[in-house]
Symmetry: D2
Subunit: 334 residues, 4 copies
């Protein structure tokens, strides 16, 4: 950490701060410039309150040099992580096509959608059993029964399944689930992240609606700090002032995250835009900028979906999207 002192700071004031830092086991390397003094702070600065030091009368500003995330940083792991989910690989050139309905509704629905998306090239099946809804009066998912139905679809098609967890106490129900999703609203539910860090499940971690990439990586770090490195990051749109789309899909997160971390990054264009018409162009764009996968809502009957029908593709529409995405990946030689 570096602290820049204001001009005209007295030697006494400077000494007082350096003594206080020493008491925190921080060594200080002083560099006197013409107008300002720079203190290099050496030691375990992760426990120092950067804002506190910045707020001191004699301090102009403070800057962290080391990044706050470590295990998920590409600096500590230069190669792409490749995540194994059953026979499916994700990252390092392996593209994940995750598709399925927002909510699992019936046996026939999930089997029909699963077979259709598999035929179009999907490699993982998604479906919501526990649903986070803004209103307590909205459909909250089939819960344990939903997971049962997903497992039946897995048996019928051989596809690994992805489904969301909302409460660590539900973990026993997820024993046969292949990828556990942490939704945007729970990205900073640190208690849940800690519990997932103690499992060896693959975690699909969605970026929160108003969370920075740094915060997303810090949440991944929570899981890794617990010993679990099987993490897939997912960008699903951030909250901005624009109202034509539900959220604003931040595609520059793909190359930016690839620079910062070795973890794979998938894109969810369905939730990001909230409109099925925009899924195809945004899926194509995601493939073109190097995403490691896509997560797309598909429903056999969007008009009668219990949840998020407006953003669901029909199986035929998904087939067209999948074809376009594969074409782009082939042409880019990826």
């Amino acid at each position: 950490m570096i602290a820049v002192l204001k001009p005209n700071v007295s030697e006494d004031q400077k000494k007082h701060l350096i003594d206080w830092l020493s008491a925190q086991n921080i060594d200080v390397h002083v560099s006197e410039g013409h107008e300002y003094t720079v203190l290099g702070l050496i030691g375990d600065t992760s426990r120092l309150d950067m804002d506190l030091i910045a707020s001191l009368d004699i301090v102009d500003s403070v800057k962290r040099v080391a990044e706050a995330f470590k295990q998920c940083s590409r600096k500590f792991h230069p190669d792409d992580s490749i995540i194994d989910v059953g026979d499916v690989k994700i990252g390092g050139g392996n593209f994940a096509m995750i598709a399925g309905p927002c909510s699992v509704e019936t046996h026939d629905q999930i089997i029909e959608v699963a077979k259709a998306v598999k035929a179009s090239g999907a490699t993982l099946l998604r479906g919501g059993a526990f649903k986070p809804r803004t209103s307590p009066y909205d459909f909250q998912g089939l819960k344990a029964d939903g997971i049962e139905l997903l497992l039946e679809a897995k048996k019928a098609t051989g596809m690994p399944i992805v489904t969301e967890i909302m409460n660590a106490s539900h973990l026993p129900l997820f024993e046969e689930v292949d990828v556990i999703q942490v939704g945007a609203r729970n990205m900073q539910n640190f208690e849940l992240l800690k519990e997932l860090g103690r499992t060896n499940k693959t975690i699909l971690l969605k970026r929160g609606l108003a969370n920075t990439l740094k915060e997303l990586l810090m949440s991944a770090e929570y899981i890794m700090a617990g010993g679990n490195s099987n993490i897939i990051l997912c960008e699903r749109g951030i909250r901005t002032f624009e109202t034509y789309t539900r959220n604003t899909l931040d595609l520059s997160a793909v190359p930016m995250l690839h620079e910062l971390t070795h973890l794979p990054v998938v894109i969810d264009p369905s939730h990001a835009t909230g409109q099925s018409r925009l899924v195809e162009p945004m899926a194509a764009a995601a493939a073109a900028c190097g995403a490691d996968g896509l997560m797309i809502e598909v429903h056999n009957d969007p008009m009668n979906a219990l949840c998020d029908g407006a953003q669901s593709l029909t199986p035929a529409q998904f087939d067209a999207v999948a074809k376009k995405v594969m074409k782009i990946r082939a042409c880019l030689g990826e």
Copy 2:
């Protein structure tokens, strides 16, 4: 709900939609205008997917008439709710002055701060035992021991205590806690809200960093739907593009929420601004625009606080803030 159809929709298309709505148990009242047709949808429209209907080819736009929140709406409860916490009342003209350290650290610290803030007029003592931190490597709070220390401070001063919960499984530890705080990051942790709805504890519900007032009210509705109406809302700054302040304090939330709901609204200027120098002017502003209380961080030794020292006031600074706030309230006759 109202659906506006596009011009030139055929009778067949119109009939098809009305039939589909009828199948969902929705009555439709058709009003033909010169250029457009308006459908009034009557029945339990809360289960209809508004976005789906809006996405239909023949529909121009859709609008909810009824608000999604019910129990917390002022329409259903015109008088201010007054929340009782021990001998302290909050709302309906009763002002809550909640003060204390970000984190509980030691017996002496919490007792010293508690006595000091009580002497300055604080009516509730706050202190963090479980701390949500962005980094897994930061201090996570004293946990159960922190609650023990708070209870000692309660015993020593008679002040009811406010502390944050991060996991429903910790509820047994909160049995003697007077007010359970739900932090900004957990505002849409619906599983936690449901559990709290089953208790009769007073809940201090903080607005999420990027959550609308409507979403805040829907989260309050989750707690009320479970049977618990003892809720205090808290605005603590929202995320914007401005970087001089940590967040942007949205004070217009005070009169706006007073219009929408009967629940009391308190302001946390410490977290909103992240800078102790801004706490006094923002606390004064909150009192002037009708807030039902304040929640302010106070530490006996901000330089050595384990958490958020930059935004903590010393007891002497808090005393000045409290005096100014009382002066404003007195002059406004509140």
Copy 3:
């Protein structure tokens, strides 16, 4: 426009409002529902203050049915507009590759860059002569001399030129300029837009940092209302809370604008991200989601550029980007 009245509005209150509307030459079509009354407002509602009506005690909410933009709406012009700039066509399947330095600096610089980008496939040359800078102490561009140098580059290469205007009084200097750019900060400089509406120049209109797509279209409407339909829209990143990138590139604006308007849409990945490393992936993504062109900063010596060197590509890097973009367009059959 539709106004929804609150339940329990008296006949007198209703009559009072209808009379007031009639006095504004608005016919009212009343539709009584079970709980609410819907007023259909017919006539020239564009002069009605929607917020005012919404603020009336008896009104629940108000909704515009007709869009506020007309001439730029796809409803009024279903086919793509194709803009002619010299021999270059833009829109309707014609892709514009606009490249060049942020600022024009010297004769040699602009000629060298122009020849290089032309060789790589650029169809228009961009270069700043008048530069909007946040600080009055920053380099403000070569002004009239910069335009002279651009015209020399045009002569040397045959490429039409694009350059920014900041003041309508400079218009005489732009007589031989092919495309006049309106920068993000001037998107709502309505006086400038009106002046440009009186010319027959092609206008490249950049979306403001915090402007909605609707506002962008209303600004295009200002130019069209004056009689000039030669408009190219440009998305160049919006302001959000994320700090790793300078702005957040909103690529869903491409398909969304294509739905709303017939005007072509180009993407500026250089300003959006502020980092040259992110230009290639974002340019590829823009091509994949159907953008009608790209606007990319290229400098022969980014280290010594007088402006925005951090986001400029070298000619060799631009060549790689152009090749990738053409590959994607070819594979998509566009």
Copy 4:
């Protein structure tokens, strides 16, 4: 400026950068830490492209030490600036109450409103003659005739007048105008700011909808760099995701700006909230947190206002607001 180099940078690379900086007339003070090297850059760093240096392979990050604004900084002018407008003083404890209609409409309207607000304690009269409207089809103001009417009201009441300019070419019309307003959309219309810097008029500079406080100060710096220091800053709400209010009033801008600059800061609660019901609480809050004035829309007949009726107070409502604000200022001893 300080540049932090990455670990493991070679001596050659370091020398290459230092040589390049020297060529830009920048002296470099090297400070070697244990893991990183800090370069202190001394000289006129305002012309260096900070982003460019930050983007170099060997650079970890860059930080400006000196602020980019100078003349408007409190560091260079520790005392509050007091702006004289006729007999009225603003700043340094002098409170400006600016009131009047959004648009000037008729002689009777402006005279009636002017007399009413003066009777309630207003010290300056505002009224729009040139109106920036999102739609070209909306009422654009009475223009020159509007200024004439304002001057009549000035004559009738003795109040100095405030009105908005949209085009530097209109300056001759503003000769007898006391305070020229620059609207939010023109805050970064640098050509206009430069022209106003050449006058000696008082400028009321409104913060842009999505502009940071730093950018607001840089725009003030544009005016001051031209020689005109008669500037009043105005916060009028920023664009956020919240939709219940039109914008989000950022009241912490008041104490924050007071720390950064010596210029007075007034608050416009009418535009910030867009709703007349919220003007009184927000005006009270602004007074409580130390604003140097208020700017409030008042119309004798809001129902028939040609512009922004929804946010206008009646004269009676304004009287109540003014009384409350004076009460708060009296009680705070200001």
